[in-house]
Symmetry: C2
Subunit: 323 residues, 2 copies
Amino acid sequence: MATRQLVVGIDIGGTNTVFGLVDREGNILAEDRLKTSHYEDFEVFVAALYEKIMVTRNKIESDIQLLGFGIGAPMGNINKGTIEYPANLPWKGIMPLADLFKRHTDLPVIVTNDGNAAAVGEMIYGGAKGMKNFVVITLGTGLGSGFVIDGKLVYGHDGFAGELGHTAVRPEPGNRECGCGKKGCLETYVSATGLKRTMFKIMADSIIPSELRKYGFDELDAEVIHQAAKRGDVLAKRAFEHTGKMLGYMLANVVAHTNPEAIFLFGGLALAKELIFEPAKESMEGTLLHIYKNKVKLLPSQLSTHNAAVLGASSLIWSIKES
Amino acid sequence: MATRQLVVGIDIGGTNTVFGLVDREGNILAEDRLKTSHYEDFEVFVAALYEKIMVTRNKIESDIQLLGFGIGAPMGNINKGTIEYPANLPWKGIMPLADLFKRHTDLPVIVTNDGNAAAVGEMIYGGAKGMKNFVVITLGTGLGSGFVIDGKLVYGHDGFAGELGHTAVRPEPGNRECGCGKKGCLETYVSATGLKRTMFKIMADSIIPSELRKYGFDELDAEVIHQAAKRGDVLAKRAFEHTGKMLGYMLANVVAHTNPEAIFLFGGLALAKELIFEPAKESMEGTLLHIYKNKVKLLPSQLSTHNAAVLGASSLIWSIKES
């Protein structure tokens, strides 16, 4: 039997760290996870993660050649292989993730933020195959983004390009507090969490009944709001409209920066389909300068939603192998 | 005597079209201009412009080899060599500028907007020599921008990257009307014209005396406001503070998109030095996500202010010769 070439994709999140062994077509042959929040010590976390990956690898029966480790993490710095001051992880300061990984392996280790990983994933496995200029916006707990220009991921001078979640929605400091310490960041409005905050604001402002009035803040999530909106809940629909409209304004600004061929929406909120795409498209087109109107495609990510973040991370290794 | 290699840089503006014959070091050996607004017919304009360039060329006594024509123009499209729906030029619709030029010459003709031309100029002759990732913001009648990523000018899929002047300052449609037909565009606040509009707004809102209260709207310009601010005029200083602050917010968003090493300010308003740089720097740093703080240099353009736009346009030809 021929040796099978695989890469490891790792998605480090605040709650779980998920990984998979992935082939060039984007099939995940094996996968597992560990609880990020169980590890106070970052070095212990990396050792446990590497160990678990090796155990998982050994369960695959075919003959395997591993090519490298692609890692998506909040505030991942692609130039230095570090995670720097993440708001939602258990560790503080600058974590030398790639260096610690290199204690265990000589294979390539690439670290970047989830938005950049999603962008490369879309190019390698998804809807951006063959595209040279596009942007991916990830809509999860926060808002991430990745820019591909001229067929290459934009790193930035310090390795931190594409942190659109922390752009200011308003010139005046807004009043929504963000995990990053600032106020009025885009992701406090446009993300799964932002949608929930908007939903509570709308319920506070309005007297219209809503099935969501029975939920506590900690219980409610974007999926529940999505289902309510699908059933016709007026306020839930209004929350999506508001969120989509804010997203569209931001997308018009993205277009004026780099004039992409397409923008892909990735992550939980994008699964709400027309509930988010319609208001986003409408406000984007309404805000765009005439030279851009009706030219930029607004598309759902084509990465399989199951473990899309792992796919994105794994694609980082294929992209260096093929560049 | 050795043959001297020169390129032609052309800056098409609403009032004047200025051109120069430029050597590799950025010396302008000859220059002239014609009145853009005198030409109702675009084809006649191009023929007259080419003719005048040839007359100017023939006045230079050394032996010359021309290498090409670089042209900066509002809404210049670098992919197609066109000017498309410019707000401030006498012609409407899509003008096939490069194609018309090609009737007269076999040499390369490159058309782009003034922001992109300024960015390449900064890289070829100015302060961005050796930089791989930087942004130039032009502050003239309007606001333009050019992005260089990984040593290359960002064109965008449709050839229109970097039209930041028409990004929306506020999610809600603002009330300042823009020449592009939209409302609340950044350049209605941050540009020489924007400064003047802000100055009039401040004079309307305040009862503090100002030497600028004697000027009509049509008479006042950024240079007069600059001189008044230097003399200590309270309201003129306030207008600069407000403009710089808005600029800084926008620059923080630019950083979150592409994480440049430096941002250069180019054009008339940048000549006001600390009056514009100080509030811009302060609001940029105050808005930046922590990972970017105190890393991005905010610098004045190093292109000689006399005919900087012509230099920028001419640099387009050197950049293709050397890539």
